[in-house]
């Protein structure tokens, strides 16, 4: 009996720590803020929060219980693009927080060209990602 109680407590504690830290990570990076700003409707903030929680729970389901929704193949491309947009936002937020672009541009004195630089970064990210998935032997 005591074994189960401790297991449940430990599981809850672990989940709490991970959930809180991953949310803190996104919030501090400003990813969620940027996405909410993009939607221009911050009065629906509660729905955004609920969808984040549901998304996390769904991934837990598939990870631990072999859960599948089945026959949603036609959603592959839109969902792939959505997932990519989120990851792209996270990585740019990281780049931005670490000041990589502004440091490079200010040091070299080419502030005028900054958007050209961003476009290169963007294409580099796509190229790197495609290489990773398409060239056999990378994973």
């Amino acid at each position: 009996m005591i074994k189960y109680v401790i297991t449940i407590l430990a599981g809850l504690a672990g989940g709490l720590a991970i959930g809180a830290s991953i949310t803190a990570f996104f919030v501090v990076l400003g990813v969620t803020a940027q996405i909410v700003k993009w939607s221009k409707k911050n009065e629906y903030l509660i729905f955004y929060q609920i969808s984040m929680v549901l998304g996390a729970l769904l991934s837990c389901l598939v990870y631990f219980f072999d859960f599948t929704l089945k026959y949603l193949n036609f959603l592959t491309i839109p969902l792939g693009i959505l997932a990519g947009i989120f990851v792209g936002t996270v990585t740019s937020a990281l780049t931005e927080t670490l000041d990589i672009i502004s440091a490079t541009v200010n040091k070299l004195g080419i502030a005028k060209w900054v958007y050209l630089i961003v476009m290169t970064l963007l294409i580099g990210k796509i190229a790197g990602s495609l290489l990773f998935f398409l060239v056999p032997g990378f994973h």
């Binding site: 949603l72 792939g80 693009i81 792209g88 200010n106 990602s129 998935f133």
Partner: protein, 202 residues
């Protein structure tokens, strides 16, 4: 003579070349009647011009004005000191600019390509994609190419959204997060130089 109150504040920028004679009117804006304004604006501050960054304080400005014009009270508004730099006139070598831009582009292109690969192997992205594909389709495949490719394109779209490039295309003067960041670091540098210059003068 009527007693007049003159309010002044520092201009944010100085826009004269290094050898040009600098008058008080180049540094401050003020409210004053026409004659007094003309008198104050013509007060020479640096007759030889400025070649390195200089710091002006409200006390110095008040002193200068009081020397020249009597019977007025001078009241500063806003910041109590400001740092001014002469405009750099040297023409930049376009080849050098091109090289610098090309260098940054190469650096960021290969850097970001490698970084995203590091990230993908670090978090075992392929396994995650396999699982996600299983979630939506119920099929277990070794590499869900379709999902991965659309995901890759999505990364580009995500960066596009984060840096608000769509705003940039619509209106060139709209500052994105990048401009704000650069402005912030420039401002911090200016503040540092101003305070440092003040330390040297004491």
């Amino acid at each position: 003579m009527v007693h007049e109150e003159v309010y002044f504040q520092f201009k944010p920028f100085y826009n004269k070349q290094p050898e040009e004679k600098a008058y008080l009117g180049d540094f401050i804006e003020m409210t004053a009647s026409h004659e007094i304004r003309q008198q104050i604006e013509r007060i020479p501050v640096f007759p030889e011009g400025i070649s390195k960054p200089v710091r002006l304080t409200s006390v110095q400005v008040i002193g200068l004005i009081k020397q020249e014009v009597s019977n007025i009270s001078v009241i500063p508004i806003g910041e109590s000191s400001a740092l001014y730099q002469p405009v750099k006139q040297e023409k930049e070598n376009p080849l050098l600019v091109f090289l610098r831009v090309a260098f940054s582009m190469l650096l960021l292109f290969f850097g970001s390509a490698l970084a995203i690969m590091y990230f993908h192997s670090d978090v075992n992205m392929n396994e995650a994609h396999r699982m996600f594909y299983y979630l939506i389709s119920g099929e277990k495949v070794s590499s869900p190419i379709l999902f991965s490719v659309s995901y890759s394109i999505g990364i580009g779209a995500g960066i596009f959204i984060f840096f608000e490039i769509y705003n940039k295309i619509k209106d060139k003067d709209n500052p994105g997060p990048l401009e704000l960041e650069m402005h912030q670091s420039e401002k911090e540098l200016r503040d540092y130089l101003r305070d440092q210059e003040g330390k040297n003068q004491i």
